[in-house]
């Protein structure tokens, strides 16, 4: 196809660049110059936004790119960590920044190590940019802004630590994503000094153009989609069901943690009671003290186990619960793109019908008034219509491309997401099961050592037969 795929609804990094409607010639140039251009993250073609570069590829080559990435060896060439939360106090506000360390061998990075400080707002910005650039790709969720239910203070240590881990996972998911990891915004996020980032952020699409996008999106949503392909309907049904299940699991796990904590509260009183008892006894003092010790040790293990659940399983479940919102949004956006395409198709058909009818109508009265001959007028009108129709057809072609591209992107990313989800949840549950086994093994050891000490005592005294 000769069209050039540019999503005109997506803002470019540099609004002064006019996106040509037909640069098929340019594409050919690319292909001739360097076969690998299709796969490279070449940012030199336009003024800097790498997502434009990736957009310049046709849908077909887009799929190729995915395939290439999947078949490629899993050699990680970028490592990102989020740590070291610090609190900053200014006249207006207090906020937390996190240290983001990047180590990479990628050529497009100027150096191999970067260290920057970022706050939650910056992460939000990055997420927004990625979503805007790739409306039908799945961006991993960020931790929530604020936990209102639990009345968690924003500067509470546990809250900050949980958030830090989630932010770390977020960046790593981005780094692992074949498309996102080559995003210019991502690169800037990882490397720019704070001042640089602020000014880069300001370069973003103007308020008006963003408004324009929102209006278009709303209009599309209102129109609704007519012929959604079956697979996307299935996807939506799956997302609905999955969303219920994962949020149930999240709730169940949180309930378990609550019950465990209450159990722990009671258990903590047992040990001291045995210890108190041992003070009144003579022969029994030793065994009672030992039992008190065992109970106390089991308490510690239980505490550890609760902490594990909280730190490991719950965040993962929670993130996938948030994922489902992302998935729903992605499906919605895809639907909107399709709705837009369908609307344009209709409009074109209507225009064409107009043209056909127009050719049969002669509006003589006005035209004779303005002194134009009917033939002239007719010719003029035909020309105008022809122009309009050509424009609409081009528009439609672009919409079609955009739809095809969106669909393919979604399909590929959906497969990737499912694979990821399976891996993540599997390892989270396996990990939990393993920790539970460890917990029981430790408690077992505690009680077995007690038994052992009682046996050696008893056999020494010749008291009890343990056969």
């Amino acid at each position: 196809m000769s069209g050039f795929v540019v999503d005109s609804t997506v803002s470019s990094g540099n609004s002064s660049v006019a996106i040509p409607t037909d640069i098929s010639g340019q594409i050919l140039d690319l292909d001739e110059d360097d076969d690998l251009e299709v796969f490279s993250k070449d940012t030199t073609v336009t003024d800097g936004s790498s997502f434009n570069a990736s957009m310049q590829t046709s849908p077909a080559s887009m799929i190729n790119q995915y395939k290439f990435e999947e078949d490629a060896e899993d050699t990680k060439d970028i490592f990102v960590t989020v740590d070291n939360p610090e609190s900053h106090v200014t006249a207006i506000e207090t906020y937390i920044t996190y240290r983001v360390v990047t180590k990479t061998t990628r050529s497009e990075f100027d150096s191999s190590e970067f260290e920057v400080r970022r706050r939650y707002q910056d992460f939000l910005w990055l997420k927004g940019r990625l979503e805007e650039a790739h409306p039908t790709l799945i961006v991993h969720p960020l931790p929530e802004k604020f936990v209102v239910k639990g009345m968690v203070e924003r500067f509470n240590e546990d809250f900050i630590e949980t958030r830090r881990r989630a932010l770390h996972r977020f960046l790593n998911k981005i780094a692992e994503h074949p498309i996102f990891s080559s995003s210019e915004d991502f690169k800037i996020f990882l490397t720019a000094a704070s001042g640089e980032l602020t000014s880069y952020k300001k370069q973003g699409p103007g308020f008006l153009s963003r408004m324009g996008e929102t209006v278009k999106a709303v209009a599309a949503a209102v129109r609704g989609v007519r012929n959604r392909p079956q697979e996307f309907t299935e996807m939506q049904e799956y997302v609905e069901a999955f969303s219920q299940k994962i949020s149930s699991l999240d709730k169940v796990t949180q309930r378990i943690v609550r019950e465990q904590k209450e159990y722990l509260e009671e258990l903590k009183e047992c040990g001291p009671t045995y210890a108190l008892w041992s003070q009144s006894e003579e022969e029994l003092a030793e065994p009672l003290k030992d039992v008190a010790g065992c109970v106390d040790r089991c308490c510690k293990e239980t505490e550890e186990q609760v902490k594990n659940l909280n730190d490991n399983l719950i965040p993962v479940l929670h993130e996938y619960a948030l994922c489902t919102e992302t998935l729903k949004a992605v499906l919605r956006r895809r639907d909107n793109i399709q709705a837009d395409f369908e609307a344009k198709t209709e409009a074109l058909a209507t225009k064409k019908a107009d043209r056909d009818t127009e050719s049969k109508v002669l509006s003589l009265a006005w035209d004779s008034l303005v002194g134009r001959s009917p033939e002239e007028v007719k010719q003029q009108k035909q020309q105008t219509l022809k122009g309009e129709i050509k424009e609409m057809r081009d528009d439609l072609d672009k919409a079609e491309d955009r739809l095809e591209w969106a669909n393919n992107a979604l399909k590929s990313d959906w497969t990737r997401w499912q694979k990821d989800m399976r891996t993540d949840l599997r390892s989270a549950f396996v990990d939990t099961a393993e920790r539970n086994v460890n917990y029981y093994e430790k408690c077992l050891a505690v009680w077995e050592s007690f038994l052992h000490s009682q046996r050696t005592d008893a056999e020494g005294n010749g008291n009890v037969d343990f056969s």
Partner: protein
Amino acid sequence: MADSGSEEIAVIGNTDLTPSESENNLKNTMVEKGTSLLKMMEISVAEAEKRTGKNAVNMQETYTVYLIETRPVDAASEGTNPVPDSLWRRYSEFELLRNYLLVTYPFSVVPPLPEKRAEFVWHKLSADNMDPDFVERRRVGLENFLLRVASHPDLSSDKIFYSFLTEENGWKETVFETGFQAKADSRLKALNATFRVKNPDKRFAEMKHYGDELQSVISQLLRVRARAADRLYGVYKVHGNYGRVFSEWSAIEKEMGDGLQSAGHHMDAYAASVDDILEEEEHYADQLKEYLFYADALRAVCRKHELTQYELEMAAQDLTSKKQQREELATGTIRTFSLKGMTSKLFGQETPEQREAKLKMLETQIEEGEELVKERNAECEEFVKSAWVDIERFKEQKDHDLREALISYAIMQISMCKKGIQVWNNAKECFSKM
């Protein structure tokens, strides 16, 4: 549980004796002190049944009766298995027996009965006396009581106890005929003695204090344990929800389905396993409860000592004052303030005849008083001796039993951990197949 009882059942009677000789032996050993009844007969509380009948005020009531079975040990060892003698008793009859024993053997730490009403329950356990689990635990407790009494050196040879086991009808009348109720010390008397006694044996005072502490700490332990059991139940049961959700989730997945489904089953098994775990723990709680109630019996013995000591002190005090009176009368001096002194001052001295008569009376009283003091002293000494012997015996039994209980608690915990390890290993395998 009274394991000491079952150890003695293992002792097999002498099979070389002729039937008539062994019968003689049985009669003789009943009278002999110190020989355990259990060497001669097996005792068990085999069943429990619900009955309805009219009570003392002619109203319908439902109650539970327990079947007591007895069987001579000799017969069992000979290989013939005769039908055991059996009779039905209800809880109130057990109570009557125990009250009788308390009064008749005040120097013995009398084994306690299982609780009348379920206490220290956690939510799942019913507090209803008619609940089958409660009845079953009570049956076991009553058997334990009988075995404890039967293995007690003094109590086991009691005739009333023997007829409790063997004579269904008329037993109640027999008990009342002993007149034990009249011999019971009034609570008021006992309380009075506790406050006023001047010189109780230090060991008994310590024992009483120990009894208080034991009761307090075991109560606390039982309370805490019940609450912890409640919570543990919750933890396990919530895991059952995993089972349900995994099952539903597996329905929408393709590759993950099988792993999820089978993991769900293990979660269900985990949730269900808590019922057995807590039932076993209830058994441990019962062992603790027995000693909670034993603490009371121990304190009863100490209180009895205080009473006998007090009565001795009273008698001695009385004697001293009478002797003093005699002295006063004999020498004519009035050293202490007394009504006699006052009246003689007011109304004049008595005649020599009057004095003589009074002196004579005092002498008699003093003689009687000295007898009383000697008696009471002997009683007191006797009591202290016997009671201390039984207290020592009790201490040993308690140390042994509670140690066993702690060990069995540890074994329970180990079993619970092993189950947990198994379930989660299985679950882990299923998860890794997800």
